[in-house]
Subunit: 316 residues, 2 copies
């Protein structure tokens, strides 16, 4: 369930645009106004605002916002304004440039979005970068990461509920065999993870538990420091329990001293309209404290207010 809070009576688009324009006029910016409008409109409404703003004031709202805002708040607002496919194309391109640090972000995008959404991301990537997403990933990765990232990002999984239980059992056995042989990038393992539907994979993972009395992810901890194994565990979570995956990313982003604002922003912005309520629930269950509480402890100012609004805090 989404956490985004849209008022039951949304003002006319022209009124939103006027207010935003006023918030930018003169010295300083009325950040509260920006949040009160943009953090409470869904993707379709934000897209209309952006279009109407450009028609009315002859300037892209993104540009106005980039001129007026700064820091983590700016990044959160700009990512939020983009339509979801456009945003993922941008995030994927940034991730490619990060090298190995970006592998998990690419996997996250590939494994937690729908087949149709991934198609739109690839289309948007073409338009924006004049190359294909997979072309860039294949060119800038190597070894076992390339071997699995390319088919992950190319995936066009079936999304129906049908499950073949015999296949689940036979493929659970294949996965177990490959894990036992430490053949973590074996083509059969990759084939199963990158082509089967999520419903089928869930059945396979359950079958694995039943057959071997342990989860796949437990058995993928041979070397806790191995980055590829961590990547695989993340992928299996994304494919079967995305809210657990996102809970962990959020938890780690605020753990100890300092905050990983990039991850925090990415997860809040990309999940607010999708499943943030489930992630919040998982967060509370795992940490005995609410996500809201931890965000309040780790962030401040307009950035904090923006994140809180997106995760559904009604007072912002």
């Amino acid at each position: 369930m989404a956490s985004l809070n849209v008022p039951s009576q949304v003002p006319p688009v022209a009124e939103d645009c006027e207010k935003l324009r006023k918030a930018f006029v003169g010295w300083g910016t009325d950040e509260a106004c920006v949040i009160s409008i943009l953090a409470h409109r869904n993707a379709m409404q934000r897209s209309l605002i952006r279009q109407t703003y450009a028609e009315t004031f002859g300037e892209d709202l993104l540009k106005s916002l980039a001129d007026e805002l700064s820091g983590d708040f700016e990044r959160a607002v700009l990512l939020w304004i983009l339509n979801p496919a456009e945003r993922d194309a941008l995030l994927a391109n940034e991730a490619i440039k990060k090298g190995s640090a970006g592998h998990c972000i690419l996997m996250e995008i590939a494994c937690t979005r729908s087949s149709h959404h991934l198609f739109l991301v690839r289309e948007d990537y073409h338009i924006r970068f004049k190359r294909s997403l997979v072309e860039d990933v294949a060119h800038h990765t190597s070894g076992e990461f390339r071997k699995i990232l390319v088919p992950f990002l190319m995936a066009h999984r079936y999304e129906g509920p049908e499950v073949n239980m015999e296949l689940a059992t036979s493929e659970a056995k294949i996965i177990h065999e490959k894990i036992t042989e430490n053949a973590y990038s074996h083509e059969e393992l990759i084939r199963i993870l990158t082509t089967r539907s999520k419903a089928q994979l869930s059945a396979t993972f359950n079958s694995y538990n039943d057959l071997y009395g342990s989860t796949i992810n437990k058995n993928l901890k041979a070397d806790p420091k191995d980055k590829y194994l961590a990547f695989l565990r993340g992928a299996i979570k994304c494919l079967s329990y995305p809210e657990k995956y996102f809970e962990k990313v959020l938890r780690l982003s605020m753990k100890g001293f300092g905050t990983d604002e990039e991850s925090l922003t990415r997860v809040v912005v990309t999940r607010a309209e999708v499943d943030m309520e489930n992630i919040k629930e998982e967060y509370h269950r795992r940490n005995n404290v609410s996500l809201e509480n931890d965000i309040k402890g780790d962030t401040s100012g307009d950035y904090q207010r923006m994140l809180l609004a997106l995760i559904g805090n009604k007072s912002v």
Copy 2:
């Protein structure tokens, strides 16, 4: 350029449906009427006919046709009636079931259709078979064919005209290196062929010619009987000169005694609305005889009339 011949004044859909229904009534079927209508309507018009026919007579036109027609003529008409993405999903599924004999058909579909069309094929495959196309291909192929067919069918290539000449040179060198090492299924070779845009690949292939004074396909003839090498040569043709690829499939389908009706039908039906005029031109240039002539020599009856109508013969 397409060869399909649509009259400048197309009768109302209801009239087409009435005529078709009459063609089926009583003993025997009026095949000439079926051809005169269906072989002269584009994909959109055929789809409308199918819809209106079902609404008017409570029966799917496909079923009526399957009941009334038979043999190669039936197959040609049924494939033609399907919308192009639906048809390719069906052809791909048939090809998967053929085992190694189907590899080239899968490659043909993957390498000669647009990115958007391939997306529609994958969507249609989901609906029709409750699994994904790539899932089935990955499950039913192995070795070097799997290694290249899976990314071919997953491809979502950039389709713009932009070309990076430096990249073309460097990747031509990679291809040459792999061919020299007989490493025909090396991941770099596969990465280039399966992810780069067709414009970029053309530049790479041209660069290869300039650098090494020979085409890639000539250098891929180390063992003329090797099926994987033949597959690679076909893929390179499909990606750069599809009309040459299709000319060869047509030529071989009618060479010597007997006819390979399956290939003949597939190429005529799938290309009539796309580039059959270019294929006909290439055919004439290569064989000093027109495609029409050879079809007349190798086929007969309604099947012949259907094919001739589709390749633009105005007397049918």
